[in-house]
């Protein structure tokens, strides 16, 4: 079971909301599907993200994938060390490999709890 202190998108991003700040990342399932990561592109502090819209991209040996935001708001912090330490995405996707902190102004209508996300992955999505 994945952490149930946070919400998930069908496209395999997670967000953990504390007050009006959301921490964003991608799940272990996303990392296993991508495999062989080589590059991560994240937005700058101060830029804005929109729920269900791409905020960055992650590149593996064979493909590039967009990363979608579970929330809308302003980026207040970026995990600057992550692009140079992509192995964190494999070793600690729900902790050390967080990507952004966002001051939340809105949320995706598609947020799922851990149990629903588990089912989504089991269905092979």
């Amino acid at each position: 079971m994945r952490p149930n202190d946070r919400k998930y998108l069908k496209s395999h991003e997670w967000c953990k909301i504390d007050g009006d700040v959301a921490t964003l990342g991608i799940t272990d399932f996303a990392v296993s599907q991508l495999s062989d990561l080589v590059f991560l592109d994240l937005p700058n502090k101060g830029s804005s993200v929109s729920a269900d819209t791409s905020f960055g991209s992650i590149e593996s040996v064979k493909a590039v994938s967009d990363i979608y935001s579970p929330v809308s708001g302003e980026v207040i912090e970026v995990n600057k060390a992550l692009p140079d330490n992509l192995d964190w995405l494999s070793t600690d996707p729900f902790g050390q490999a967080w990507m952004l902190k966002v001051k939340v102004t809105g949320k995706s209508a598609g947020l799922m709890d851990a149990a629903a996300y588990e089912q989504n992955c089991a269905d092979g999505h």
Partner: protein, 366 residues
């Protein structure tokens, strides 16, 4: 989805299987870049069961093949193999193939791309229908196909076969037994390394695969997926249908004129001669190198000083060269090695430079 005879062997080895050209194929067993390095330094084993395999025989087999494809079959000696293309009347590439003349000179064998196999078989059968005695047999299900590629290929393979591999030249093939099973073996491949491709009756494919892996284990032989195969073939400058070549390209602009012989009347010849007389199509396939952080990918636009000149057809991280490599069609005036170009990722330019193909040649190869 079609499956090769080795599907359960791949699952047992922990492979990640993906759909490819209608087949469920292993894309990787471990990290793709490690698999590519294994082939360059030791040896790797590939399931090529998805490739189309066709036998052509009959009195008119040679005449039929002369019409069908671009190489001059009359110049292929028994037991030898040549690269060729099937074109349409407009000179557009329908597939690239290997043409094998049987070692006993009693017919031919073709290896064709999985993704084009159905269309090819239609073209081949239609061509054969114009001849009194040209018989076409699809052997894709009847035969398994396994490749071993890498510097240790001959050492490992010789332990398993009575065929004299030291005497088997590059792009030659022979018959023999393999683990006691009658088979055919060619010194060919799609990686730029020395190696062999083995054709065995389908019922024995799994046994041959397992014998190979067990026998090569002390030498570091590993199973290799399609992911690394794509990286390896790109490093070696070998075209892949759907990327460097497709029905929108012709062999001249793709730099594959060495596979075209204007000595016989093949479908598409007149169109190629017209293109040649007109001085080409104005574009060329080139190799690009880039030390950018971003990997060049198929479909990205290529620009020269801010003006679009073409697009990427294949791109990869090259573990052998420790840089990014790509192929692209660009305007002829931008095709000379050393030309500085850019590829665009969401309109953001990343620097690249034109380099000669292939990117990689194995040590000691002319």
């Amino acid at each position: 989805m079609r499956e090769t005879a080795l599907k359960s062997a791949h699952v047992a080895l922990g492979a990640r299987l993906v759909p490819f050209a209608g087949w469920n194929m292993p894309v990787q067993y471990g990290p793709i870049l490690d698999e590519a390095r294994t082939v360059r330094t030791k040896a790797g084993l590939f399931d090529l069961g998805h490739m189309g395999r066709v036998r052509i025989r009959g009195r008119d087999a040679e005449a039929m093949l002369q019409r069908l494809q671009t190489n001059d079959v009359s110049q292929i000696q028994p037991g030898r193999i040549r690269y060729a293309m099937i074109l349409d009347e407009q000179g557009r590439t329908q597939d690239d193939i290997l043409v094998y003349r049987n070692p006993g000179n009693d017919g031919f064998f073709l290896v064709i791309n999985a993704g084009n196999a159905e269309r090819d078989l239609g073209i081949i059968r239609a061509c054969a229908a114009g001849f009194a005695d040209a018989i076409v047999e699809d052997q894709t299900d009847a035969l398994g196909m396994i490749a071993i590629q890498g510097p240790l290929s001959e050492t490992i393979t010789q332990r398993l076969t009575d065929a004299n591999l030291a005497a088997l030249k590059y792009y030659a093939w022979t018959r023999g037994t393999f683990c006691g099973v009658p088979m055919e073996i060619s010194r060919t491949g799609y990686t730029g390394e020395d190696g062999f491709e083995v054709y065995v009756p389908a019922a024995h494919t799994a046994r041959v695969w397992n014998e190979f892996l067990a026998c090569g284990k002390p030498d570091g032989l590993q199973p290799i997926g399609l992911g690394a195969r794509d990286t390896l073939r790109l490093e070696a400058g070998m075209p892949l249908y759907g990327h460097e070549i497709d029905e929108g390209t012709n062999p001249l602009e793709a730099g594959l004129d060495w596979g075209v012989k204007f000595t016989h009347d093949f479908v598409g010849r007149a169109a190629l001669e017209r293109i040649q007389a007109a001085g080409g199509t104005g574009r060329r396939l080139v190799g690009l190198r880039s030390d950018s952080k971003r990997v060049p990918r198929q479909g990205y636009p290529v620009a020269a000083g801010g003006t679009i000149t073409g697009e990427i057809r294949s791109g990869a991280i090259s573990p052998t060269l420790s840089t990014h490599i790509a192929t692209a069609y660009v305007r002829t005036e931008h095709s000379a090695p050393g030309t500085a170009l850019e590829f665009l990722i969401k309109d953001k330019p990343e620097p690249a430079v034109v380099v000669p193909l292939p990117f990689y040649k194995r040590p000691g190869k002319a």
